[in-house]
Symmetry: C2
Subunit: 453 residues, 2 copies
């Protein structure tokens, strides 16, 4: 598709907008954590863009889009590349649009932050805390991930135990989006409209700025707790998740087979222990520790925010969500994982059944979140990978038990999530990217429509 | 019981601790809002203490207790007297212990406030907000009620949609309690121990100070919304209650039969409209109003905190919880009410059935709260009172439908709540009030045990 492009001429057309054409560097900016999946690792290993372009502001984005549209060059927008499904990998080459330069934080008004898509989540948190506000939710990659990448490629994470998913009304309040047209438009999506581009992998518009609701800040305590028995830990985590009076931000349970990979925690653990990871408001320290003692657990590691700042210790949240898998992969290349949600509210029985049936082949990892006002049990269990056929069989078995699986072993938008094209996202793509030049190959609904036409 | 007490000698024994013996003033300090209930109105109209004693600090409380114990004088502790069940009414006369002088606020540490029992909730809120903290929960009587009275006589209220009930671990963290003995002790209850005195009406110890977890403060918007149809309002309220991304503090729905009594809102309403009362975080304004428009409702009255401060308007929360009934009683003396909880989570059908079956005899009033991590539907419907027999029949019918009724037409601790004596509260009374001199006649379990002995 891009074989006949004159790249030096293209780069020149962008004036002083920074570009990068070094093959190794372009390749590096063309990847994410797709290698979490042995399936994607095979499929995507050869993927690379032709050039990285790094706009400094929205006007630069518009200029890049104009030049690309004129030359029919595909654009794959990208933040820090911390996704796990090849979301930001340019399947058809072309421009990798590195948006980390768009990192302006505007003043917070009534708890609403307007911020450039490229701002790092860690920096947003650090800069807003002294002003009395903090992120409502963030992925385990908070240190490096950008807000735009989280909006375009993520769905929830730490904080979802309070605020549910990003798609729920109220957290993602607005987005500025540049369209891929001869004369690019800057659209301002508000309210439910934002879900046209949220979790669309940048396939139907380039998000340059978002408005997000923040949470009022408070001091958090960082806990790793240990239990001899995973079932006791799961029950305890469920109790904390449902305890309306215990303020928390993270509630995760990892069984001993997965916790054994947590190198930075090994000193604090006895082999065979399962580990709970919690962020608990300082005011809830006593009731949390009382409940822990009653449940038969112990505090394995306790850190204040100041402790983490001073020592550089790995925070509890960097053992949760997709970081659980990362710790395992650092030790064992044959590990992969699933993303799923147990049917609730009586999910603990189903969890116990999976643990009993799969044992060490599927080390369990639970994340408690809120869905529609109720506590729900997400699971990102590790899988000791043997073959794609076996992986698919496990997924099929999970689904037969009523466990919803959000397949992380596909780069296709629909196949990872809802299994069907979001009609609003598809309609928006027709409107905002009529030639299908944005992150091509990721939205199956578009490709099917195009090949049918 | 107190007929042979030499009151002037008793008052003299207290030294400079303020006392009041004027009959009218003592009578005034011997009542609460018991007259909400036509049943209690009959039963309690003659109740009065013999003397009001107003300690200035805990040492004064100890001194009063010592003198009372020596003379076998009953003590009924009291805050602002905003209860509805005669909680603080001295059935056997004696000392009314007015605790509003114990109103010290200590510095907030990590979101935990230590505060004298007599501090007014409105003052706590006003003084903590500039420090970045606010009350987690409060009753509709926030303006005048004390924290000690709320702890001893209440259970939840505004804020319970986030933090559940006060009995849940994490909100009420500690209490100092003076025992009723020859040599009074000051006990420091912590953790689950606090439920020994929480919602015990002061029958088993005198609460002098509490420790409560606060919420990080944020600006709130005050909404009265109007719907032509109560079912649509109930559905909308349920949607908001379950919307994890819409930050709120109050979520109440009142049908037109009850809303017609809201004098201060009549200008904003069309006759026949049902009214929803909401406190919504400023950051959630847009998603809340979007959802309202989709549900077919309209904003009848909108106020910021600054508007309320400037105009003295009646805030939304003063139309909710027991204030709903108060507005009705101001207009119609034959109104009373019920306290109940619909079985959930599919409570809206049961609500609709009650509305259909009772019509205007039981104007509906819903309060959405959180119970055990899930949204639940409490109801304090008005009842057009005809006779106690009819009232009891309605209660029995509610119970036959699986609706839990917390009878507000009794001053007996057990009969209003769990229908059985809390064994921990009873055990604590044996320990802390061996002669049964604290607020006598309110704990049935104690009286039964005493008459059996």
């Amino acid at each position: 598709m891009t074989a006949d492009i004159d790249w030096p001429a293209f780069a020149a057309s962008l004036g002083d907008i920074p570009t990068e054409t070094d093959r190794a560097l372009v390749r590096q900016k063309s990847r994410d954590f797709y290698w979490y999946s042995p399936v994607l690792k095979q499929q995507l290993r050869g993927v690379s863009g032709d050039i990285v372009v790094a706009p400094r502001d929205e006007a630069d984005v518009v200029a890049v889009v104009r030049e690309c549209f004129a030359r029919r060059i595909p654009i794959t927008p990208r933040g820090a590349g911390t996704g796990n499904y090849g979301q930001a990998m340019p399947l058809q080459g072309g421009v990798v649009l590195d948006l980390i330069g768009l990192n302006t934080l505007h003043p917070i008004v009534d708890g609403v932050l307007r911020v450039g898509a490229g701002a790092k989540l860690g920096e947003i948190e650090a800069r807003c805390k002294p002003l009395g506000w903090e992120l409502r939710m963030f992925p385990s990659t908070r240190r490096t991930a950008t807000i735009g990448g989280f909006v375009a490629g993520g769905s929830g994470g730490i904080g979802s135990i309070n605020f549910g998913q990003m798609r729920d009304p109220g957290t993602l309040l607005g987005a500025r989006v540049v369209t891929m047209e001869a004369e690019p438009r800057v659209l301002h999506l508000r309210g439910a409209e934002v879900n046209r581009v949220h979790h669309a992998y940048g396939t139907n518009g380039i998000i340059t700025e978002v408005e997000i609701a923040m949470a009022p800040a408070q001091p958090w305590l960082d806990y790793a707790v240990a239990f001899e028995d995973f079932a006791a830990l799961a029950t305890f985590s469920d109790v904390i998740a449902r305890a309306d009076g215990i303020a928390k931000r993270l509630c995760a349970a990892v069984d001993s087979g997965a916790a054994a990979y947590f190198k930075p925690l090994q000193e604090a653990l006895t082999p065979g222990e399962s580990v709970g990871l919690f962020l608990i408001a300082a005011q809830s320290r006593a009731p949390f520790e009382d409940a822990l003692a009653r449940a038969g657990g112990r505090v394995a590691r306790f850190l204040t925010e100041a402790d983490i700042e001073a020592t550089g210790a790995v925070p509890a949240f960097e053992f949760t969500w997709n970081h659980t898998t990362l710790h395992a992969l650092k030790v064992d290349k044959d590990i992969t994982y699933l993303q799923s949600r147990f049917p609730g509210p009586d999910y603990l029985g189903a969890v116990a059944q999976v643990v009993a049936d799969y044992g060490d082949e599927v080390p369990m990892h639970l994340e408690f979140i809120r869905v529609g006002g109720e506590v729900a049990c997400a699971a990102l269990p590790l899988v000791r990978y043997t073959s794609e056929a076996r992986l698919r069989a496990i997924i099929a078995d999970f689904e037969s038990r009523g466990i919803a699986v959000f397949d992380p072993h596909t780069y296709v938008l629909e196949d990872g999530g809802m299994k069907q094209t979001d009609p609003e996202q598809l309609a928006f793509k027709r409107h905002a990217d009529p030639l299908g030049l944005l992150n091509p190959g990721k939205m199956r609904g578009w490709d099917e429509q195009s090949s049918a036409a």
